[in-house]
Amino acid sequence: MAGLPSHEDTPGTDEFIKGLWRDNPVFVQVLGMCPALAVSNTARNALAMGLATLFVLLMSNVVISSLRRFVPREVRIATYILIIATFVTIVDYVIQAISLDLHRALGAFISLIVVNCLILGRAEAFASKNTVGRSALDALGMGLGFTTALLSLGAVREILGGGTLFGLPLFHDAFQPWVVMILPSGGFFTLAGWLLLFNALAERRERRATLAAEALR
Protein backbone atom coordinates (compact mmCIF):
# COMPACT_ATOMS: atom_id res chain seq x y z
CA MET A 1 0.00 0.00 0.00
CA ALA A 2 2.61 2.51 1.11
CA GLY A 3 4.53 1.79 -2.11
CA LEU A 4 1.80 3.22 -4.33
CA PRO A 5 2.81 6.39 -6.18
CA SER A 6 1.41 9.51 -4.55
CA HIS A 7 3.49 12.13 -6.36
CA GLU A 8 1.78 14.92 -8.18
CA ASP A 9 3.12 14.15 -11.66
CA THR A 10 0.88 11.16 -12.45
CA PRO A 11 -2.17 12.11 -14.54
CA GLY A 12 -5.51 12.37 -12.73
CA THR A 13 -7.09 9.64 -14.82
CA ASP A 14 -4.46 7.22 -13.50
CA GLU A 15 -5.63 7.84 -9.91
CA PHE A 16 -9.10 6.81 -11.04
CA ILE A 17 -8.19 3.80 -13.20
CA LYS A 18 -5.73 2.18 -10.77
CA GLY A 19 -8.43 1.25 -8.24
CA LEU A 20 -10.72 -0.14 -10.90
CA TRP A 21 -8.21 -2.56 -12.35
CA ARG A 22 -4.44 -2.56 -11.67
CA ASP A 23 -4.72 -2.12 -7.88
CA ASN A 24 -8.29 -3.39 -7.47
CA PRO A 25 -8.85 -3.40 -3.68
CA VAL A 26 -10.42 -6.87 -3.56
CA PHE A 27 -8.89 -8.85 -6.43
CA VAL A 28 -5.36 -7.40 -6.34
CA GLN A 29 -4.78 -5.89 -2.87
CA VAL A 30 -7.09 -8.43 -1.15
CA LEU A 31 -8.43 -5.75 1.26
CA GLY A 32 -11.83 -5.50 2.94
CA MET A 33 -12.36 -9.26 2.89
CA CYS A 34 -14.87 -9.32 5.76
CA PRO A 35 -17.70 -7.50 3.93
CA ALA A 36 -16.57 -8.87 0.56
CA LEU A 37 -17.17 -12.44 1.69
CA ALA A 38 -20.02 -11.92 4.15
CA VAL A 39 -22.53 -9.86 2.19
CA SER A 40 -21.81 -10.99 -1.35
CA ASN A 41 -24.38 -13.82 -1.20
CA THR A 42 -26.70 -11.95 -3.56
CA ALA A 43 -26.03 -9.35 -6.23
CA ARG A 44 -28.37 -6.84 -4.55
CA ASN A 45 -26.62 -7.05 -1.16
CA ALA A 46 -23.22 -6.85 -2.85
CA LEU A 47 -24.21 -3.76 -4.84
CA ALA A 48 -25.66 -2.02 -1.77
CA MET A 49 -22.57 -2.76 0.33
CA GLY A 50 -20.30 -1.61 -2.53
CA LEU A 51 -22.16 1.68 -2.94
CA ALA A 52 -22.27 2.31 0.83
CA THR A 53 -18.50 1.76 1.00
CA LEU A 54 -17.97 3.97 -2.07
CA PHE A 55 -19.89 6.81 -0.40
CA VAL A 56 -17.95 6.53 2.88
CA LEU A 57 -14.63 6.28 1.02
CA LEU A 58 -15.36 9.29 -1.19
CA MET A 59 -16.63 11.53 1.61
CA SER A 60 -13.89 10.64 4.08
CA ASN A 61 -11.13 10.99 1.44
CA VAL A 62 -12.43 14.44 0.46
CA VAL A 63 -12.77 15.66 4.06
CA ILE A 64 -9.45 14.19 5.21
CA SER A 65 -7.55 15.64 2.28
CA SER A 66 -9.10 19.10 2.73
CA LEU A 67 -8.18 19.05 6.43
CA ARG A 68 -4.70 17.60 5.86
CA ARG A 69 -2.84 20.79 6.86
CA PHE A 70 -5.04 21.29 9.91
CA VAL A 71 -4.60 17.85 11.50
CA PRO A 72 -1.28 17.26 13.37
CA ARG A 73 0.41 13.90 12.70
CA GLU A 74 0.10 12.82 16.34
CA VAL A 75 -3.73 12.75 16.31
CA ARG A 76 -4.32 11.87 12.67
CA ILE A 77 -5.53 8.26 13.13
CA ALA A 78 -8.07 9.34 15.79
CA THR A 79 -9.44 12.09 13.53
CA TYR A 80 -9.57 9.78 10.48
CA ILE A 81 -11.56 7.17 12.42
CA LEU A 82 -13.87 9.89 13.75
CA ILE A 83 -14.54 11.19 10.23
CA ILE A 84 -15.02 7.69 8.79
CA ALA A 85 -17.35 6.66 11.65
CA THR A 86 -19.45 9.79 11.06
CA PHE A 87 -20.07 8.93 7.42
CA VAL A 88 -20.77 5.28 8.27
CA THR A 89 -23.42 6.38 10.78
CA ILE A 90 -24.96 8.61 8.12
CA VAL A 91 -25.03 5.74 5.60
CA ASP A 92 -26.65 3.52 8.23
CA TYR A 93 -29.54 5.97 8.77
CA VAL A 94 -29.94 6.64 5.05
CA ILE A 95 -30.19 2.91 4.23
CA GLN A 96 -32.82 2.50 6.97
CA ALA A 97 -34.74 5.36 5.42
CA ILE A 98 -34.45 3.85 1.92
CA SER A 99 -35.36 0.25 2.75
CA LEU A 100 -35.65 -1.63 6.03
CA ASP A 101 -35.39 -4.95 4.17
CA LEU A 102 -32.05 -3.95 2.71
CA HIS A 103 -30.86 -2.77 6.12
CA ARG A 104 -31.92 -6.14 7.55
CA ALA A 105 -30.05 -8.03 4.83
CA LEU A 106 -26.78 -6.10 5.36
CA GLY A 107 -27.11 -6.35 9.15
CA ALA A 108 -24.03 -5.61 11.21
CA PHE A 109 -21.84 -5.17 8.15
CA ILE A 110 -22.89 -1.57 7.60
CA SER A 111 -21.45 -0.52 10.98
CA LEU A 112 -18.37 -2.60 10.22
CA ILE A 113 -17.51 -0.35 7.25
CA VAL A 114 -15.78 1.76 9.94
CA VAL A 115 -13.08 -0.87 10.28
CA ASN A 116 -12.78 -1.68 6.56
CA CYS A 117 -9.00 -1.43 6.13
CA LEU A 118 -9.51 -0.18 2.59
CA ILE A 119 -10.94 3.13 3.86
CA LEU A 120 -8.39 3.87 6.58
CA GLY A 121 -5.72 2.65 4.15
CA ARG A 122 -6.67 5.22 1.48
CA ALA A 123 -6.95 7.98 4.14
CA GLU A 124 -3.48 7.31 5.49
CA ALA A 125 -1.69 6.40 2.25
CA PHE A 126 -3.33 8.84 -0.13
CA ALA A 127 -5.82 11.46 1.09
CA SER A 128 -3.52 12.77 3.83
CA LYS A 129 -0.81 13.58 1.26
CA ASN A 130 -2.74 14.64 -1.87
CA THR A 131 -5.05 17.38 -3.09
CA VAL A 132 -8.83 17.16 -2.72
CA GLY A 133 -9.35 16.53 -6.45
CA ARG A 134 -6.85 13.68 -6.61
CA SER A 135 -8.17 12.16 -3.39
CA ALA A 136 -11.72 12.24 -4.76
CA LEU A 137 -10.58 10.51 -7.98
CA ASP A 138 -8.64 7.94 -5.96
CA ALA A 139 -11.70 7.25 -3.78
CA LEU A 140 -14.02 7.00 -6.78
CA GLY A 141 -11.69 4.53 -8.51
CA MET A 142 -11.10 2.42 -5.40
CA GLY A 143 -14.78 2.55 -4.41
CA LEU A 144 -16.00 1.56 -7.87
CA GLY A 145 -13.32 -1.16 -7.99
CA PHE A 146 -14.59 -2.46 -4.64
CA THR A 147 -18.23 -2.29 -5.82
CA THR A 148 -17.43 -4.08 -9.09
CA ALA A 149 -15.52 -6.78 -7.23
CA LEU A 150 -18.35 -7.34 -4.74
CA LEU A 151 -20.84 -7.42 -7.60
CA SER A 152 -18.70 -10.00 -9.44
CA LEU A 153 -18.69 -12.17 -6.32
CA GLY A 154 -22.37 -11.60 -5.56
CA ALA A 155 -23.56 -12.28 -9.12
CA VAL A 156 -21.68 -15.59 -9.41
CA ARG A 157 -22.87 -16.71 -5.96
CA GLU A 158 -26.50 -15.75 -6.58
CA ILE A 159 -26.65 -17.30 -10.07
CA LEU A 160 -25.17 -20.63 -8.96
CA GLY A 161 -26.57 -20.68 -5.43
CA GLY A 162 -30.09 -19.49 -6.13
CA GLY A 163 -30.58 -19.63 -9.90
CA THR A 164 -31.45 -15.92 -9.92
CA LEU A 165 -29.79 -12.56 -10.59
CA PHE A 166 -31.08 -9.49 -8.71
CA GLY A 167 -33.99 -11.75 -7.71
CA LEU A 168 -34.97 -12.55 -11.32
CA PRO A 169 -35.09 -16.30 -12.09
CA LEU A 170 -32.61 -17.28 -14.81
CA PHE A 171 -33.12 -21.00 -15.26
CA HIS A 172 -35.82 -23.56 -15.82
CA ASP A 173 -37.56 -24.88 -12.67
CA ALA A 174 -35.50 -28.07 -12.92
CA PHE A 175 -32.33 -26.14 -11.93
CA GLN A 176 -31.04 -27.42 -8.60
CA PRO A 177 -29.34 -24.50 -6.75
CA TRP A 178 -25.84 -25.10 -5.35
CA VAL A 179 -26.67 -24.05 -1.80
CA VAL A 180 -22.96 -24.13 -0.89
CA MET A 181 -22.38 -21.01 -3.03
CA ILE A 182 -24.61 -18.91 -0.75
CA LEU A 183 -22.99 -20.29 2.40
CA PRO A 184 -19.68 -18.79 3.63
CA SER A 185 -17.61 -21.49 1.93
CA GLY A 186 -19.11 -20.49 -1.41
CA GLY A 187 -17.73 -16.99 -0.86
CA PHE A 188 -14.21 -18.40 -0.52
CA PHE A 189 -14.60 -20.61 -3.61
CA THR A 190 -15.83 -17.71 -5.72
CA LEU A 191 -13.13 -15.35 -4.45
CA ALA A 192 -10.48 -17.99 -5.21
CA GLY A 193 -11.80 -18.27 -8.76
CA TRP A 194 -11.63 -14.51 -9.35
CA LEU A 195 -8.15 -14.23 -7.76
CA LEU A 196 -6.95 -17.02 -10.04
CA LEU A 197 -8.24 -15.14 -13.07
CA PHE A 198 -6.68 -11.81 -12.00
CA ASN A 199 -3.33 -13.43 -11.23
CA ALA A 200 -3.32 -15.30 -14.53
CA LEU A 201 -4.02 -12.04 -16.39
CA ALA A 202 -1.29 -10.19 -14.49
CA GLU A 203 1.19 -12.96 -15.22
CA ARG A 204 0.36 -12.93 -18.93
CA ARG A 205 0.77 -9.14 -19.03
CA GLU A 206 4.20 -9.42 -17.41
CA ARG A 207 5.29 -12.17 -19.77
CA ARG A 208 4.25 -10.09 -22.77
CA ALA A 209 6.08 -7.03 -21.41
CA THR A 210 9.25 -9.09 -20.96
CA LEU A 211 8.96 -10.50 -24.49
CA ALA A 212 8.42 -7.03 -25.92
CA ALA A 213 11.44 -5.69 -24.02
CA GLU A 214 13.61 -8.54 -25.32
CA ALA A 215 12.42 -7.98 -28.88
CA LEU A 216 13.46 -4.31 -28.64
CA ARG A 217 16.99 -5.25 -27.56
Binding site: R73, A78, T79, Y93, V94, V179
Partner: protein
Amino acid sequence: MNGMSASAPPTSAWPMYRALVGIGLLCGLLIVSVFELTRPVIERNQAEALQRAIFQVLPGARSSATFRLVGEDRFEILEGKPDGAPLAYAGYDADRQLVGLALEAHGMGYQDVIRLLYGYSFAEQAVIGIRVLESRETPGLGDKIETDPAFLANFERLDVSLSDDLTRLLHPIEAVKHGTREHPWQVDGITGATISSAAIADILSQSTSWWIPRIRRNLDDFRIAE
Protein backbone atom coordinates in the same frame (compact mmCIF):
# COMPACT_ATOMS: atom_id res chain seq x y z
CA MET B 1 10.75 5.97 13.18
CA ASN B 2 11.48 7.40 9.77
CA GLY B 3 13.65 10.41 9.10
CA MET B 4 10.74 12.76 8.53
CA SER B 5 9.23 12.57 12.00
CA ALA B 6 12.66 12.75 13.63
CA SER B 7 13.41 16.08 11.92
CA ALA B 8 9.90 17.57 12.36
CA PRO B 9 9.52 19.77 15.45
CA PRO B 10 7.14 18.38 18.11
CA THR B 11 3.58 19.72 17.82
CA SER B 12 2.34 21.83 20.70
CA ALA B 13 -0.86 20.86 22.49
CA TRP B 14 -3.15 23.55 21.05
CA PRO B 15 -3.26 22.35 17.39
CA MET B 16 -4.00 18.83 18.61
CA TYR B 17 -6.87 19.98 20.84
CA ARG B 18 -8.13 22.21 18.05
CA ALA B 19 -8.15 19.42 15.47
CA LEU B 20 -9.75 16.76 17.69
CA VAL B 21 -12.33 18.97 19.41
CA GLY B 22 -13.17 20.91 16.23
CA ILE B 23 -13.63 17.83 14.08
CA GLY B 24 -15.49 16.05 16.89
CA LEU B 25 -17.91 18.95 17.16
CA LEU B 26 -18.55 19.05 13.40
CA CYS B 27 -19.03 15.27 13.24
CA GLY B 28 -21.45 15.40 16.16
CA LEU B 29 -23.51 18.12 14.49
CA LEU B 30 -23.58 16.20 11.22
CA ILE B 31 -24.67 12.90 12.81
CA VAL B 32 -27.45 14.47 14.88
CA SER B 33 -28.76 16.47 11.90
CA VAL B 34 -28.91 13.38 9.65
CA PHE B 35 -30.54 11.38 12.46
CA GLU B 36 -33.21 14.05 12.93
CA LEU B 37 -33.78 14.30 9.17
CA THR B 38 -34.15 10.57 8.60
CA ARG B 39 -36.05 9.71 11.81
CA PRO B 40 -39.59 10.46 10.53
CA VAL B 41 -38.94 8.44 7.36
CA ILE B 42 -37.49 5.49 9.31
CA GLU B 43 -40.40 5.50 11.76
CA ARG B 44 -42.85 5.60 8.86
CA ASN B 45 -41.03 2.67 7.20
CA GLN B 46 -41.24 0.66 10.42
CA ALA B 47 -44.93 1.39 10.87
CA GLU B 48 -45.64 0.48 7.23
CA ALA B 49 -43.67 -2.77 7.53
CA LEU B 50 -45.67 -3.72 10.63
CA GLN B 51 -48.95 -2.80 8.93
CA ARG B 52 -48.06 -4.93 5.88
CA ALA B 53 -47.16 -7.84 8.15
CA ILE B 54 -50.48 -7.52 10.05
CA PHE B 55 -52.49 -7.74 6.81
CA GLN B 56 -50.35 -10.68 5.66
CA VAL B 57 -51.01 -12.77 8.77
CA LEU B 58 -54.71 -11.83 8.90
CA PRO B 59 -56.02 -12.51 5.38
CA GLY B 60 -59.18 -10.52 4.78
CA ALA B 61 -58.29 -7.68 7.17
CA ARG B 62 -58.62 -4.17 5.72
CA SER B 63 -57.94 -2.04 8.78
CA SER B 64 -56.28 -2.54 12.15
CA ALA B 65 -56.18 -1.15 15.68
CA THR B 66 -53.49 -1.53 18.33
CA PHE B 67 -54.46 -2.69 21.82
CA ARG B 68 -52.38 -2.80 25.00
CA LEU B 69 -52.80 -5.26 27.83
CA VAL B 70 -53.80 -3.46 31.05
CA GLY B 71 -53.15 -5.38 34.25
CA GLU B 72 -53.53 -9.13 33.83
CA ASP B 73 -56.82 -9.36 31.99
CA ARG B 74 -58.06 -6.30 30.14
CA PHE B 75 -57.27 -4.73 26.78
CA GLU B 76 -57.66 -1.12 25.74
CA ILE B 77 -56.87 0.79 22.55
CA LEU B 78 -53.32 2.15 22.58
CA GLU B 79 -53.25 5.92 22.53
CA GLY B 80 -49.92 7.64 21.96
CA LYS B 81 -46.60 5.82 22.11
CA PRO B 82 -46.19 2.21 23.31
CA ASP B 83 -45.17 2.14 26.99
CA GLY B 84 -43.76 -1.37 27.16
CA ALA B 85 -47.10 -3.13 27.90
CA PRO B 86 -47.71 -6.20 25.65
CA LEU B 87 -49.41 -5.19 22.39
CA ALA B 88 -51.98 -6.99 20.24
CA TYR B 89 -53.04 -5.80 16.79
CA ALA B 90 -56.68 -6.40 15.92
CA GLY B 91 -57.64 -6.71 12.23
CA TYR B 92 -61.07 -5.81 10.84
CA ASP B 93 -62.57 -6.67 7.45
CA ALA B 94 -64.25 -4.30 4.98
CA ASP B 95 -67.48 -4.37 7.07
CA ARG B 96 -65.50 -3.45 10.24
CA GLN B 97 -66.03 -6.96 11.65
CA LEU B 98 -63.22 -8.42 13.80
CA VAL B 99 -61.15 -10.89 11.71
CA GLY B 100 -58.61 -11.80 14.37
CA LEU B 101 -55.50 -10.63 16.18
CA ALA B 102 -51.90 -10.29 15.07
CA LEU B 103 -49.41 -11.02 17.86
CA GLU B 104 -45.66 -10.65 18.10
CA ALA B 105 -43.44 -13.43 19.42
CA HIS B 106 -39.72 -14.01 19.65
CA GLY B 107 -37.28 -16.69 20.70
CA MET B 108 -33.90 -18.21 19.98
CA GLY B 109 -33.32 -19.67 16.51
CA TYR B 110 -30.22 -21.48 15.23
CA GLN B 111 -28.06 -18.34 14.88
CA ASP B 112 -29.82 -15.55 16.72
CA VAL B 113 -33.20 -14.40 17.98
CA ILE B 114 -36.10 -14.89 15.55
CA ARG B 115 -38.89 -12.33 15.78
CA LEU B 116 -42.21 -13.11 14.12
CA LEU B 117 -45.79 -11.97 13.84
CA TYR B 118 -48.66 -14.48 13.71
CA GLY B 119 -52.36 -14.12 13.09
CA TYR B 120 -55.02 -15.70 15.33
CA SER B 121 -58.58 -16.20 14.17
CA PHE B 122 -61.33 -16.29 16.82
CA ALA B 123 -63.73 -18.05 14.42
CA GLU B 124 -61.30 -20.86 13.55
CA GLN B 125 -59.56 -20.95 16.94
CA ALA B 126 -56.35 -21.33 14.97
CA VAL B 127 -53.18 -19.58 13.89
CA ILE B 128 -53.92 -18.50 10.30
CA GLY B 129 -50.62 -17.02 9.14
CA ILE B 130 -47.10 -16.15 10.22
CA ARG B 131 -44.51 -13.71 9.01
CA VAL B 132 -40.88 -13.63 10.15
CA LEU B 133 -39.98 -10.04 11.06
CA GLU B 134 -36.34 -10.61 11.94
CA SER B 135 -34.03 -13.58 11.61
CA ARG B 136 -30.40 -14.33 10.86
CA GLU B 137 -30.87 -18.02 10.03
CA THR B 138 -28.40 -19.67 7.65
CA PRO B 139 -29.01 -18.46 4.07
CA GLY B 140 -30.18 -21.30 1.84
CA LEU B 141 -31.02 -23.62 4.78
CA GLY B 142 -32.49 -22.04 7.92
CA ASP B 143 -34.00 -19.13 6.04
CA LYS B 144 -36.41 -21.60 4.41
CA ILE B 145 -38.63 -20.84 7.43
CA GLU B 146 -39.50 -17.68 5.49
CA THR B 147 -39.74 -19.09 1.97
CA ASP B 148 -40.59 -22.82 1.96
CA PRO B 149 -44.26 -23.05 0.79
CA ALA B 150 -44.78 -26.50 2.35
CA PHE B 151 -43.57 -25.21 5.72
CA LEU B 152 -45.65 -22.02 5.56
CA ALA B 153 -48.72 -24.17 4.75
CA ASN B 154 -48.49 -25.44 8.38
CA PHE B 155 -49.69 -22.03 9.52
CA GLU B 156 -52.71 -21.67 7.28
CA ARG B 157 -54.78 -23.38 9.98
CA LEU B 158 -52.77 -24.43 13.03
CA ASP B 159 -55.10 -25.50 15.80
CA VAL B 160 -54.87 -23.64 19.13
CA SER B 161 -58.30 -24.54 20.58
CA LEU B 162 -58.78 -23.78 24.27
CA SER B 163 -60.05 -25.94 27.10
CA ASP B 164 -63.69 -25.33 28.15
CA ASP B 165 -62.71 -23.03 31.04
CA LEU B 166 -60.58 -20.92 28.63
CA THR B 167 -57.47 -21.20 30.81
CA ARG B 168 -55.13 -23.31 28.67
CA LEU B 169 -54.58 -24.72 25.18
CA LEU B 170 -56.03 -28.19 24.64
CA HIS B 171 -52.93 -29.16 22.66
CA PRO B 172 -49.86 -26.92 22.75
CA ILE B 173 -48.22 -26.51 19.32
CA GLU B 174 -45.43 -29.04 18.75
CA ALA B 175 -42.83 -29.68 16.08
CA VAL B 176 -42.65 -33.06 14.34
CA LYS B 177 -40.20 -34.49 11.80
CA HIS B 178 -40.85 -33.70 8.16
CA GLY B 179 -43.64 -35.88 6.75
CA THR B 180 -44.97 -37.15 10.08
CA ARG B 181 -47.65 -34.53 10.85
CA GLU B 182 -50.85 -36.22 12.08
CA HIS B 183 -52.72 -33.58 14.09
CA PRO B 184 -53.76 -30.01 13.26
CA TRP B 185 -51.64 -28.61 16.16
CA GLN B 186 -48.40 -30.12 14.85
CA VAL B 187 -45.81 -28.29 12.75
CA ASP B 188 -44.20 -30.32 9.98
CA GLY B 189 -40.45 -29.52 10.09
CA ILE B 190 -38.06 -28.80 7.22
CA THR B 191 -35.35 -31.32 6.31
CA GLY B 192 -32.01 -29.48 6.49
CA ALA B 193 -33.47 -26.78 8.74
CA THR B 194 -34.62 -28.92 11.66
CA ILE B 195 -33.47 -26.52 14.38
CA SER B 196 -34.85 -23.37 12.73
CA SER B 197 -38.23 -24.93 11.97
CA ALA B 198 -38.51 -26.44 15.48
CA ALA B 199 -37.58 -23.01 16.89
CA ILE B 200 -40.57 -21.48 15.09
CA ALA B 201 -42.87 -24.13 16.59
CA ASP B 202 -41.41 -23.52 20.09
CA ILE B 203 -41.77 -19.75 19.80
CA LEU B 204 -45.39 -20.14 18.67
CA SER B 205 -46.13 -22.72 21.33
CA GLN B 206 -44.88 -20.49 24.16
CA SER B 207 -46.50 -17.35 22.81
CA THR B 208 -49.90 -18.91 22.09
CA SER B 209 -50.03 -20.63 25.51
CA TRP B 210 -49.61 -17.20 27.10
CA TRP B 211 -51.69 -15.04 24.74
CA ILE B 212 -54.61 -17.10 23.50
CA PRO B 213 -56.35 -17.75 26.89
CA ARG B 214 -55.99 -14.04 27.75
CA ILE B 215 -57.37 -12.68 24.50
CA ARG B 216 -60.13 -15.29 24.27
CA ARG B 217 -61.44 -14.35 27.73
CA ASN B 218 -61.51 -10.69 26.71
CA LEU B 219 -62.85 -11.07 23.19
CA ASP B 220 -65.33 -8.22 23.70
CA ASP B 221 -62.52 -5.72 24.39
CA PHE B 222 -61.49 -5.98 20.73
CA ARG B 223 -65.00 -5.41 19.43
CA ILE B 224 -65.00 -1.73 20.52
CA ALA B 225 -63.33 -0.64 17.31
CA GLU B 226 -65.83 -2.50 15.08
